[in-house]
Symmetry: C2
DNA sequence: GTAATCCATAACCAGGGAGTTATGAATAAA
DNA sequence: TTTATTCATAACTCCCTGGTTATGGATTAC
């Protein structure tokens, strides 16, 4: 299971791309032009990043005339949340087991 | 804030490296040799990945004789959990605001 | 109809990073 | 002491990707 975390990690690893995603989360729907304005990179670069984000299921696009509006997609981060939860769970479980063992040795 | 998520995302983006980290989470402390055995890559590659994981604060190492034991570091994922929580919070807040607006318009 | 705007795609380039083999330092075993 | 084991580092290669400029299609404005 969990081929999903792979794509998510890879997609969010790039700072520029992650910044775009963060802006969409904070400020809601934005056009490509608006995103390009404060991204520090060219418009084609932004378009490529948006393509990657879309393919990872992190954003949606909505065409309206000659401009495209992008918005963050709630729930897309769930696999990531699940993964971190699992990892945290594993060492927690081992700590519990250790705790148990110590208690039994103590008796 | 949050230079930490950047390093974490970058470090966990590589599948081989993430697999090593997962094994350390699931099965606890491991030597480099043990990790290399089922990693599918050479020992130097594993060592490099472990170096990256260590630098990101994701693992600890413990030298014992001529072998080095690595273990996952609980709490290292916290910045990641915080970040996802923030992102989820943003759109949640906007949904609430929208809900509010609709309610007021309804009255 | 013509000009201007918005965006996506193509083509290309450069840097980084993940992999390899070779090697050496440190420790354990003989 | 000599040999074998374990790991880290160095040096190198190759590919992937994020950036660029150039361009074109679609839409809006004049």
């Amino acid at each position: 299971m969990s081929a999903a975390p792979d794509l998510l990690f890879r997609t969010l690893a790039d700072p520029t791309r992650r910044a775009i995603f963060e802006r969409l989360c904070r400020e809601g729907e934005q056009t490509v032009g608006a995103l390009t304005a404060r991204s520090g990179v060219s418009q084609p670069a932004v378009s490529k990043h948006l393509g990657a984000l879309k393919q990872a299921g992190l954003v949606r696009d909505r065409h309206e005339g000659r401009q495209t509006h992008y918005s963050a997609r709630p729930g897309a981060l769930n696999p990531l949340i699940d993964w971190t939860g699992q990892m945290a769970g594993f060492w927690q479980r081992r700590l519990d087991a250790l705790d148990d063992l110590l208690k039994r040795m103590d008796q």
